[in-house]
């Protein structure tokens, strides 16, 4: 097991040590084990760096070339014009998903941490975690065959009644629009936001809750005065983790959303309209089979943009979590 991880580690240190073996018992083993462990840790950092380096290297041809070199693939758009609408679609879909998922998750987390009877809260948390175990391709199937036909009439109704507001204008069946995709994304990020929020809510100091109760607070007032203020930063970072997931999710969007035609540059806020949005991840999965040479490079450049966006979002989320852990008295 150890040899296929880092074969160079024992070779580098083993030889000079072998002659001195016996002076301290287990010295060679100690060095070997420490070396293997450290090497694995470093290897992980190297892998992460390699992801960035190889993506940059493969994206460079598209970034440096003149737009004419890949005009075939992008239908005469330059790189910014090609990636811009994709970034817009990615962020839009993730934000809609967040708007749906965050209130629901806070509700569920409160239900588990504060409302449900003790013996119910375990199973309830388990049921929500089950949502995280389902593969994305199955969510895609569910979205296409179950959600889209059911949500269509509702969207149609909203579009007719509220169509004067530009966001809801121009619904066209079937409901393969960015909102349907975002609903599926919301279901997919629900477990992670719920799990993190639940953990923070459960850490609320007992004394805060009891103090609130002693003042005669109702159950909801306890939640509002003691639990929610204590968990605010936790909920924010949980939402950002969820945002990171939603930004990078491929299959649900690929299988549900009808994208705009290649070579068009659309920034549309009509979230119920069809064929006006596309996300980076779904676009890569859809186009890579017919892409070659410069086309692949363009797609990898768009992937690099996605990588950068999710990296920033995740680092911010982790930073908030770390800051909170350092200052809270919970542990």
């Amino acid at each position: 097991m150890s040899t296929d991880v880092t074969p160079e580690a024992p070779g580098a240190e083993g030889r000079p040590l072998a002659s001195r073996r016996g002076t301290t018992p287990g010295r060679f083993g100690n060095r070997l084990f420490a070396g293997l462990s450290t090497a694995s840790g470093i290897l992980i950092l190297v892998t992460l760096a390699a992801v960035a380096i190889f993506l940059v290297r493969e994206a460079l041809p598209a970034i440096t070339a003149s737009p004419a070199a890949y005009a075939d693939f992008t239908r005469d758009l330059n790189l910014g014009q090609y990636i811009g609408p994709l970034v817009f679609g990615t962020v839009l879909a993730a934000l809609i998903a967040l708007v749906i998922a965050v209130p629901l998750s806070i509700g569920i987390a409160l239900f588990i941490a504060h409302y449900a009877p003790k013996r119910l809260s375990g199973p309830v948390a388990y049921v929500v975690d089950l949502l995280a175990a389902i593969p994305s391709v199955v969510y895609g199937l569910w979205g296409f065959f179950w959600l889209v036909p059911k949500i269509g009439p509702i969207m149609d109704w909203i579009s007719q009644k509220l169509g004067f507001i530009p966001i809801f204008a121009d619904y066209a069946p079937p409901a393969k629009n960015v909102t349907s995709a975002a609903i599926v994304l919301a279901v997919m990020i629900l477990p992670i936001i719920t799990a993190v929020s639940r953990e923070v809510f459960l850490q609320t100091p007992r004394l805060h809750i009891e103090a609130s109760l002693a003042l005669g607070a109702t159950r909801w007032e306890v939640a509002r005065q003691a639990i929610l203020p204590f968990g605010r930063s936790g909920v924010i970072s949980a939402s950002m983790l969820g945002l990171g997931r939603a930004l990078g999710e491929t299959m649900a969007v690929l299988m549900i959303l009808a994208p705009f035609a290649r070579g068009t540059e659309v920034y549309s806020i009509k979230i119920l309209a069809s064929a006006e949005h596309q996300t980076i991840a779904a676009n890569i999965a859809q186009q890579i089979r017919e892409a070659h040479g410069m086309g692949v490079s363009v797609l990898i450049a768009s992937g690099l943009a996605l990588f950068a966006i999710t990296l920033v979002v995740n680092m911010a989320a982790r930073w908030i979590v770390a800051r909170r852990a350092a200052f809270s008295g919970a542990n």
């Binding site: 287990g26 450290t38 993506l55 939640a223």
Partner: protein, 307 residues
């Protein structure tokens, strides 16, 4: 809203009277409304879960025959209802197996480093970036494998190893995180007792720390496998789909269950392709369920007493 903090504190032996004072009635109403909303949030979350599982069981269950599991897609054309997922099941096991062989040792050793060795800046950096790495989009992991092998071998190269590498990028941080938690559960007294007997550190780690947390580690790895076995996007980019079995991991495309489900769906979403996609989805969910049950069994049967 209810501004309870501005009100004078009621005398200790008088319960707030909800029924008579107007503000009491309002507070009671708000409380009831919020309790309903919070419960409703949970019930709403049940809707996708229940509808998804019923759809998979009903639509996939009708496909689940021995013939579906034991044949591949060789020579299946048009609307023929023949064909099955044998090659995809084997491909999924091959690629996930190889990804596990890569990820489990690296992840476990990194966890050992974090718990037993690392105290300085490297450990802090590693913890932070492992967390960041859990957030890498799966499609980016796939693109990384494509970019890596395009440079190493050539742009047209496709093989199972590429898929395994892509999955490893997603799997390693999961293994590190959960193994780290398991190693932290081992009480320090055990380590100190071992050192007091003059046992070297590496033997203490192998014979005391790892042995004590073995069940937890195996559980973590099994759960990590369950996490990545359903990944679709990275495999779509790297191993694609074929109609028959490919036992070579170094040469040519390999069929896998998630990509099989997607490709059947995308070829023929309204006919027999949809049925096969649901069938493959059910098989995939069954595999994930078995993995989760195995993990639960191991952790309940063999875990250390402190848990």
């Amino acid at each position: 809203m209810t501004a309870v903090t501005d009100r004078p504190v009621p005398a200790p032996d008088v319960a707030p009277n909800f029924t008579t004072s107007p503000s009491g009635r309002r507070r009671k109403r708000t409380n009831a409304i919020m309790a309903t909303l919070v419960t409703l949030a949970f019930l709403i979350a049940l809707v996708p879960l229940i509808s998804l599982l019923t759809e998979v069981v009903i639509r996939g269950g009708s496909m689940l025959t021995w013939q579906f599991i034991s044949t591949d897609m060789t020579g299946v054309f048009g609307d023929s209802p023949d064909g099955g997922v044998r090659h995809a099941i084997l491909g999924t096991l091959q690629i996930t197996g190889l990804a596990t062989l890569i990820s489990a040792p690296i992840g476990l050793f990194a966890a050992v480093y974090l718990v037993e060795y690392g105290h300085g800046r490297l450990a802090k950096t590693l913890t932070f970036f492992v967390d960041v790495m859990t957030g890498i989009p799966s499609i980016v992991a796939g693109l990384f494998a494509v970019a890596l092998f395009a440079i190493l071998i050539g742009p047209a190269y496709r093989s199972g190893v590429m898929g395994a590498i892509a999955l490893s990028v997603l799997m390693i941080p999961v293994v590190v995180r959960s193994c780290e938690e398991m190693l932290k559960l081992v009480p320090n007294e055990l380590r100190e007792a071992s050192y007091a007997l003059g046992v070297p550190k590496y033997l203490t780690i192998i014979k005391v720390v790892l042995r004590t947390s073995l069940a937890g580690i195996v559980t973590s790895i099994v759960l990590a496998i369950a996490r990545v076995i359903g990944e679709t996007a990275p495999l779509l980019l790297t191993v694609g789909i074929v109609t028959s079995m490919n036992t070579s991991m170094l040469d040519g495309r390999v069929a896998t269950l998630p990509v099989f489900a997607y490709s059947q769906y995308s070829q023929d979403a309204l006919g027999v392709g949809a049925d096969r996609a649901w069938g493959a989805a059910l098989v995939l969910i069954l595999i994930i369920m078995i993995l989760n049950l195995v993990a639960r069994f191991i952790s309940s049967r063999f875990s250390i007493a402190e848990k």
